[in-house]
Amino acid sequence: MISTDRAVPSYRLAPNYRPFVMPALIVVCAVIIFPWAFTVWMSANDWTLGQARTFVGAENYINLALDARFWESLWHTIYYTALAVILPLFLGTIAALIFDEQFPLRGFLRGVFVMPMMATPVAIALVWTMMFHPQLGILNYFLSLVGIEAQGWIYDQATVIPSLVIVEVWQWTPLVMLIVLGGLAAVPREPYESAEIDGANGWQKFRYLTLPMIGPFLMIAVIIRTIDALKSFDIIYAMTQGGPGTASETINIYLYNVAFSYYNIGYASAMAIIFFILIVILSFVLLIVRQCTVWSQAGDGK
């Protein structure tokens, strides 16, 4: 039918895979590359929707550098991200060590544990908002049971970011757990047996055997968590919209407000670009750190 003698070697040498990629390439260009090019162009214009557009070159970027609210939102973003990376990392690793063991109902409990990160963030955020309520919220009731005074949670400028992070931790600790669990599955048994013969205790085994071996997986968790926490929008927007005042306004929320509340498209575009560059730089730094940890561990192994 189709087979001709000449066709055989040519397919064998170079099967044509490019057509498979073409549709995706077109879509990526249309919904990813084009928007980016357009954003770069917009960022060089002074343009509020419904008004005249004028070319201003780098002015938006200069204004951004002088914008106190932007710097404040950057600080909020860093604060939020640091907490939202470290806490899930710590708790997720402990959870992974537990779920790596054998015990009854293990599969079922793991399934339950994974549910928060699949649940719809907005729906989750609404229920947390009710739980954080200063007078009627269940959290302050629990605090009162153990004799701690009522907190303002997301309604207090001082506690709003840590409170939001509680939700983030609740939702994303399972992802860290899954990643680390994947790492633990690949850990060989023999070193532990020899360590036991040498009389190592549980902590020593964890510190000198487990931790170095799951190091690369922890770094992956850090990278993914960092990117996600920087981009976090749904929970913050649904719960506080950046408030009270601007106390929980991260760059992403500020960006949203500039673009879709003030319709200041040019300025928002400049901010989007700076924000994206920040994310890229940070991920590359983390990737490099990851390379280093992998190397140093290879060195330690000798």
Binding site: I2, V8, Y11, R12, P15, Y17, R18, P19, F20, P23, A24, L25, V27, V28, V31, I32, P35, F38, M42, Q102, F103, L105, R106, G107, L109, R110, F113, M115, P116, M118, A119, T120, P121, V122, A123, L126, V127, T129, L136, I138, Y141, W170, L178, I179, G182, A221, K231, F233, D234, L255, Y256, A259, I265, A268, S269, A272, F275, F276, I279, L287
Partner: protein, 273 residues
Amino acid sequence: MTHKILGRIGFLFAALVFVSPVVLFFLWMLSLSLKFEIDNAAYPPVFIPEHFAWSNYVKVFAENNFFRYFWNSLLVTGTATLLALVIGVPAGYGIARLKAQKSAIVIMIARMTPGLSFLIPMFLLFQWMNLIGTLWPQIIIHLVVTVPLVVWIMMGYFETTPIELEEAASIDGATSWQVFRMVALPIAKPGIVVSFILSIIFSWNNFVFGVVLANRETRTLPVAVYNMLSFEQVSWGPLAAAALIVTLPVLILTMFAQKEIVAGLTAGAVKGG
């Protein structure tokens, strides 16, 4: 022997400690959704009410056009996922076989970019094209999430499927398309299931695109439930009921497809580095 059993009980207990915030949260959500306002405003809180307020659920559907929004969510999520599979599965195959690192980086960058940055230019584009007011803007922009996800998972999956069978088929004279269709695709079914499920979940949960692009008629469920918060004088029962309705399909899917989701997330995540 007893030592081992004690150890297992200890780990079970530790696991329960970790799982309890999850269980308690969802139980509290259910409790809120089944209580009348008087119970929801009670202090100390009522955990299990004397009378269940099933009417909260009726109210959500009766007063908030929720059938409409459910249908919108189904259409947007379904179309965006199917399109992503049609486009993304062959692309994942092509990238895996071409060993195209550069395309992989593009996909990676797409995953790193905040959704909002796509929204500004796309919002303007949709306005000029007069598409606002239809579901198309949301379907198209959901592809930003679903296509990279499917490509990424399928790329990883096709890298693990054996190439020998495909080579044998092409020696027998099959075209590239036939090799893909008859040999590679059937083997990749588990990978397709994983990317299908994850694509559905992430598209269903998406909020930021809808909040900008949807109007009264074209809202998806997450946006609809958020709007209830801002417009209705906060009454907790119906609000919690609505929140549960939005997230229940995803939770059920998570329960039934736990294995696939775990596999997909860890594969996707580990590849992410």
